[in-house]
Symmetry: C2
Subunit: 329 residues, 2 copies
């Protein structure tokens, strides 16, 4: 009987959970809108409900004995040893909360409650998911970056999550500074990658280019009816694919900033494989090509052997896969 | 009988070698000018001579049985597994050379030749030296940076050298890019730390400030008799200690750039301890204070716990200590 686990991706908008087999296939999937109104207790109640429901639905068929446990990826600072989650962005009302203990408490006496429970930072979980079942399958060491509202990162070394010297907060490439004298400030820090290529910053940059040169910007501006609030990365992608020079320049910059970040990862850790995921990564070659060129320009030729940039394969299911994989390790 | 080893620091100017005890004391030390005129063969001949001489002088007293081997730190790309040294800067005429094998060959049949021989990148060796016997003694994880002509780095994780995902070239904080749109270019790469705070770049920066504002610059300029070729970091240090605002601004910038680099190390690897060595580090608080402030400004408050910047303790003997320590591991 093959092993299986429940993998959960706790987000600010939705809680996504899946029954994942040891080989990586998703057997069953559920998603509920995150209840952000009642603090940690509300979330714990939602999580226990979804775990119990998934378990009940599949345990007869897959075998209760083969259940490896429940894994959870969560935003914010996670201490995997202590099982705590601290200050998750987008979840108001949290400080440091003993999430694992609380869940174990609520599930005590039930079948899924008697199996192991693991908790990990969501970007780390996504990296582990890609390592086990996705684009990182063939890489011993890589950095995964998730391009979305924020810029998250996770590092896999020797096929295992690298959690860092301290408490599980390594891999934060979004907080890497590449333009320390530049104009952008994010979370109080000047020149970070997230501050330059987080979703809204990409749109801001495009809008600034439009404002600078309304004639060149007219095509892109037309796509959002000349309304900044309506402009999205999708418009910039669409316009770039139509050859719009201004939009191409926006992606060129996104790729360059990312390539500089990758170069720093190569210099510091000698990592040469990069998996790129998240909604913004849908722009594909518009980002990948300038990122690769910038990475090569920004590293010594002696470091170029084996450099690869590949798209993530698991999309928004990477977190669930990785959370489940925590139970198989 | 306590173990001992020979540790060698191969530099472009001098080959320094020492007999080092397991506890870290130096028993005997030798230095010869590096023969850069005859390529790898000349260096191998020098190395074997110095190893044989040191061994002969101490083996009776310390005990031949307690000899743990010979370790070597060398500039450039070292492959510790293969024992090769590639393209060492300041050693003309090298490509990739099997240094360990060549030394073993020359020393074959002699007593030191029958013991293990280790080779490591010089910045890594210095970091290991500080980890075992110096300022990193109490740190499980730290980055060591060496501020000199170049900016070298080595990383110790879990008390062991972190050699990187590839072949031993990790820790190169000098090649980290923090100002990717800035004016400085070094080794073809824009905005690296070494390109901004390598020794000559510090002097260049000071000289540029003098040129910009000769009145403010007159004090520092006077120290080098208004001759750029005579200006050295020592002058800038001396003037800063006398309160010269222009010189203080130079060190403020050196510290800031370094602090940004440290912030990136913290974001990526969650390392929070930094050991600072090399000749330029003699400026002490002039660098340490702005570096610490910049590091705190450039990281999230949740990462501030446990941050420490400390001066290296072993000076230019760190490399020999670390090279010897390779034999004790």
């Amino acid at each position: 009987m093959s092993r299986w686990a429940i993998g959960i991706d706790l987000g600010g908008t939705a809680i996504k959970a899946a029954v994942v087999g040891f080989q990586g296939g998703i057997v069953l999937e559920r998603s509920v809108p995150t209840d952000t109104s009642s603090g940690p207790e509300g979330i714990v109640s939602q999580l226990s409900g979804i775990v119990a429901a998934l378990y009940d639905e599949v345990s007869d068929g897959l075998g209760a004995d083969a259940f490896a446990g429940t894994g959870l990826g969560a935003p914010g600072a996670v201490d995997p040893e202590e099982g705590t989650l601290s200050y998750p962005p987008n979840l108001p009302g949290w400080t440091t909360f003993p999430l694992r203990k609380a869940l174990a408490c609520v599930l005590e006496g039930t079948s899924p409650g008697s199996s192991p429970f693991f908790i990990e930072n969501d970007a780390n979980a996504a990296a582990l998911g890609e390592a086990c079942y996705g684009a990182g399958r063939d890489f011993r060491d890589f950095l995964m970056v998730t391009l979305g509202t924020g810029v998250g990162g996770g590092i896999v070394l020797d096929r295992k999550l690298y959690r860092g010297a301290g408490g599980g907060t390594a891999g934060e490439i979004g907080f890497m500074i590449v333009d320390f004298q530049g104009p952008s400030v994010h979370a109080g820090i000047r020149g970070t990658i997230e501050g330059m290529i987080g979703k809204e910053r990409i749109v801001d940059y495009a809008w600034a280019l439009i404002a600078e040169d309304p004639v060149s910007g007219s095509h892109l501006s037309g796509l959002c009816r000349h309304d900044r609030a309506m402009l999205s990365p999708r418009h910039i992608e669409q316009a770039a694919r139509q050859g719009d020079p201004l939009s191409l320049a926006v992606w060129e910059r996104v790729g360059s900033v990312l390539g500089v970040g990758f170069a720093n990862v190569t210099a510091l850790m000698d990592i040469r494989k990069f998996v790129i995921g998240g909604g913004i990564a849908a722009a594909g070659g518009l980002i990948f090509d300038p990122a690769r060129q910038q990475l090569l320009r920004s590293t010594l030729p002696s470091m170029h052997d084996g450099i690869e940039l590949v798209p993530a394969e698991l999309g928004n299911r990477a977190g669930m896969h990785g959370a489940a994989a925590l139970c198989f390790q």
